[in-house]
Amino acid sequence: MATHETLSGHTIEYEPTPELAAFLARLQALLDDPSKREADMIALAYSRENPLLEPWPFDASRGMVTAAVLAEPAYHVIGDMLFRKRVQDTGTDVAKIAARYTLTIGETAERLGIHESAVRQGIAARRLSSWVKDGRHYLDPVAVDSYKVGPHGPKPPAPRPSNLTPLRVVLGRVQGYNLKVKYPGELEGEERIAEHTIAGNVPRWARVAVFTGHAGTARMFVLEPDPDAEEQTLEHNAFSVRGRFKIVEKINNAAKAGEAWKRFEAA
């Protein structure tokens, strides 16, 4: 595992392959060379020599950023390296850049009319940029206001709980397999069907998370009611979640699933 501290005070953890590590070393050499400009680094960073990128459909020598690439921490290490060169090129005082970031997370949440947790999620998703000062995140008010403009700004109001689509859940752990569910309220008709397995019904819900684990792997699914859907079952060995639902989010990375599980609030 490698770590990179960005100029804005964030820590990026990433796992470079030997090929990626060699590529990053080439970019670092350009960063360290005062005769090279950001334009030189961009030419390399967005070429097909970058192992992170997909082929660009209009020019075989160039690389394409996709959603999967954006999700790669190492891509943002490259972004920070370009930023450092840009600072050199423009002769910018870094303190002047940091001075743009004046809003706390609480102030940002109030300004956008959303929860603080949504602001943190926006920062984690890199849709909201922040600068870390003395261990606290600060945001740029201009950037925050532009976040409101797009249709992908604050989340819509939480869906109303539905009692038309009760969930039947069988959860617990056995032989290294486990399934757990975050749901609102209490299970109805709860019964213990094995030593470490219980079953019951979630009668009224708008949003639940299902976490499955086995042998070091883990996944998380976020479900919302879908009364028009056929009844379906999410199965994991002996465990299951059955009902009329749609899967609105799926996280296959164990570490990310764990973090998302901690943050999730059922409704």
Partner: protein
């Protein structure tokens, strides 16, 4: 499918560089609407005059994969977001041999 190039400044009108997170946020907005993007090699240098004062600036040139003309309005959304985020009165972009300033 065709390519649209959007010119995004590297610094504001006071010469203060934009941070990596500014571009990351723009890229996230682009990616939520389109399937792929790239950065063109190099940067574009341009000049403009406002109230008798000349401004010189450099731009990154983002290329965006647009699958159909029916996605044109999404380019407009990205341009509006970019104008606010990068503190610009207008954004230059070009496509299919044409150029526009919005």
């Amino acid at each position: 499918m065709f390519e649209v190039q959007v010119f995004i400044p590297v610094a504001d009108n006071n010469g203060v560089a934009f941070g990596d997170d500014d571009y990351a946020a723009l890229e996230a907005e682009i990616m939520s609407r389109f399937g792929g993007l790239s950065l063109n090699p190099g940067t574009a240098v341009g000049s403009w005059v406002d109230n008798g004062k000349r401004y010189d600036d450099r731009h990154r040139i983002y290329s965006v994969v647009v699958r159909s003309l029916t996605q044109g309005h999404l380019i407009g959304e990205v341009v509006e977001i970019a104008k606010r985020r990068f503190r610009q009165e207008a954004i230059f972009f070009r496509y299919l041999g044409q150029a526009e300033i919005l």
